[in-house]
């Protein structure tokens, strides 16, 4: 049972970065400030939590929380079979936090997806461009204030008529 020891160690060492530690349905969740995520992740990585299982983000606009956006890391330890969830909070007017790509290479594409869908920027990422939506897309779809039906991008294509087209739109 390694996890309670690590949580106690973090609460001693980084006490001004930790906002809260909660438990729900048998799992531990640690809430931290966004700017110090690399220190805490490095401490976990050096203490047997060697696998970053998942990385995502939540927009807390109507849920409430410490800040508007929270980036969530799920860590797993192959040795002791334990899991922990770390939530790093970033404010709305400056959504920037350090990139975890230097610790685990899997964070590369996951951070690109979070940038595409939420608009959170990652400092130190080698190639932060959109991954799911087209390159000239405007807006970040998974934010709570973006409409589900989009802003008319899906009606914006040329109509091809039946028959032999003298004025086709394809450049050969």
């Amino acid at each position: 049972m390694l996890l309670p020891k690590i949580i106690a160690k973090i609460e001693n060492k980084f006490s001004n970065s930790i906002l809260d530690t909660t438990k729900f349905a048998g799992e531990d969740i640690i809430h931290i400030k966004g700017s110090s995520n690399l220190d805490i992740l490095k401490l976990f990585k050096n203490n047997e939590f060697n696998f970053l299982a998942d990385m995502t983000a939540i927009d807390n606009l109507t849920l409430g929380g410490f800040e508007r956006f929270s980036v969530v890391y799920h860590l797993l330890s192959h040795e002791t079979k334990e899991r922990v969830t770390i939530k790093a909070y970033v404010p709305e007017d400056e959504p920037v936090l350090p990139s975890a790509e230097s610790l685990w290479k899997t964070a590369d594409w996951q951070e690109r997806e979070i940038y595409d869908l939420f608009g959170i920027l990652f400092k130190g990422h080698p190639n932060l461009i959109r991954i799911m939506n087209p390159d000239d897309y405007n807006g970040h779809p998974l934010r709570k204030d973006y409409p589900r039906l989009g802003r008319k991008e899906r009606d914006d294509f040329p109509v091809v008529k039946r028959g032999i087209n003298k004025d086709s739109t394809v450049d050969w």
Binding site: N133, P134, G150, R154, F157, V159, I164, N165
Partner: protein, 163 residues
């Protein structure tokens, strides 16, 4: 006789029925399979329900060598220009079957990123409903298309006569 002067008479109707017979029994499909309907289309091509017995044997993945485009699966914003380009690369005569609910109307996905029906931008001949349609449903769509092809006339392909 210039190509543009073809109107219907006894010679052309016999020729038309011969040409239509040839075309409808050798529709070579090009599957544009994106999602789950693509897997059902692979099942249609496989041994239990096999469309080779209807003439659709040579499944070519190149638009230049096929005459039936089967749009199977949901089309997203990034994929639509690719679909239009492939449709325009196919030579005439060409037909389109829209397979499944997502290609016909957008299906379950009423979101910012899925085109609500391929027929908004491309002319579609036969719609096959289902999510995904059974292989027998796709075969019925193919037979309906064969009946449509049977009724075509040469004047449909003329560039000066207005339809």
């Amino acid at each position: 006789m210039k190509q543009d002067d073809i109107k219907s008479n006894i010679l052309t109707t016999t020729l038309e029925s011969a040409v239509n017979w040839g075309r409808k029994h050798s529709l070579w499909p090009m599957p544009f399979g994106t999602a789950c309907c693509g897997i059902e289309f692979m099942g249609v091509m496989a041994a239990r329900t096999d469309i080779a017995r209807f003439g659709a044997e040579a499944v070519r993945f190149s638009p230049r060598q096929s005459d039936l485009l089967i749009v199977a699966g949901r089309i997203s914003l990034k994929m639509m220009p690719v679909l239009i380009r492939i449709y325009e690369q196919m030579p005439e005569p060409k037909w389109v079957i829209s397979m499944g609910a997502c290609a016909s109307t957008g299906g379950v996905f009423d979101t910012y990123s899925v085109i609500q029906g391929v027929d908004k931008f491309i002319p579609v001949d036969v719609y096959v409903p289902g999510c995904p349609p059974r292989p027998e449903g796709v075969v019925e769509g193919l037979i309906l298309l064969q009946e449509l092809v049977d009724k075509e006339k040469f004047s449909d392909y003329s560039t000066t006569l207005k339809k």
